[in-house]
Amino acid sequence: MALRLVTHGLRKAFNRRIVFENIDTSVSEGETLLIAGRNGSGKSTLVKILCDVLSPSQGSVDITGAGPLNAFTRKALFGLVSPYLQLYDEFSAMENLQLAAALRGLHGDARIHEELLARVALDPKRADPVHGFSSGMKQRLKYALALAHHPRILILDEPMSNLDADGMTIVRGIMTEQRTRGILVVATNDLSDIDVHERKVDLNVRA
């Protein structure tokens, strides 16, 4: 059975101010879900709900076709890159990768981590503490962190932020690859970021 991510009547309100409601959508393996909307339309809120770090006020997010899920395997399905995801900046890039693996309850594989850092062109900086990184380098490291455990659902919130041309090329490669092996979710207001999408949630319509 193919992996499927389904939302049922999602609604989120802060202080009774409704951010969005009645979000019903689904995305299956091999598909791309685009979450579009201008600033403040709730893209990030929806992303947080999808990857289970925020509870919806109403509705639910269901995952089918992933086998039995426990506290760890559910989290292991998701990889997230987003501006509000902070790194531990007193640690180096490699240490951050190892820490993330350990927090997922896994043994970090140093070789895979090095390969990942090479892929996002951070390998010369692997031992430097992250607080010395530029924002573009941090964004690259977030990609390495999101991909380290081979997530079946990759969620990218503002995927291109702070990236230079080289970085964008790397990210396009990552997106193409994810589409072949799982679900890709992209939240952005810049439609040139993404060229293929099968499903779309447009948060502007409501507003």
Binding site: S55, A71, K75, L85, A102, L103, R104, G105
Partner: protein, 231 residues
Amino acid sequence: MSVRETTTLRWIRASLAVFLKDWRSELRTRYAMSALVMFVVTTISIILFSLGGEGASPEVLAGMLWVVIFFAAMSGLSRTFVMEEERGTGMTLQLLTPPGAVFAGKLLFNLVLGAGLTLLTVVLYAFFINGFIVRTLSIFLLTIALGSVGLAAASTIIAAIIARANTKGTLYPVLSFPILLPLLMTVINATRLASDGAPLGEAAGEFQILISYIVVVITVSTLLFEYIWKD
């Protein structure tokens, strides 16, 4: 069977990862430690100045010891959660690891920090405060051990609450004091018994109260932490 085993292993590994992360981060930044040490030193010197060479009764001194420990704990034990919230890394933790592992790791960290803090305070206190005598060492040591565990247990869950409330620690003593009062009253009484030279058996009731307090607080905190942690 094997799935269950690996899940248990993953819990242990993840909890230890949270603990080790905090520990190494603490070693690099001295975020909580320096404040704690300075607090203990300052408070003890203030007590020394205010006593002005005159002795106080062992009862008063037994109480004062725990005043120093309580306020030092209030200055340091909330850091572990407040730090995540201030730097915005709370969500990273939420994304990577289940709430139970976060709580276990943070509790472990606070236990170590709390034990270190209590030990430091007791050593400095015994060294500098003249009238402070312990006649029954066994009662005293048990009290110190159980007291620091209880202190760390109760302050960890309160720290989680105030970190979420974004109050930067001003509320910490206010919320902690009523929760910690049963513990403080018991340890002060037990310390007094130790100063008086009571036999070990006389403090058995105090130890029972301390142990059940620790068990109850840790159980309830574990059950409630998930609600605090996830928005």
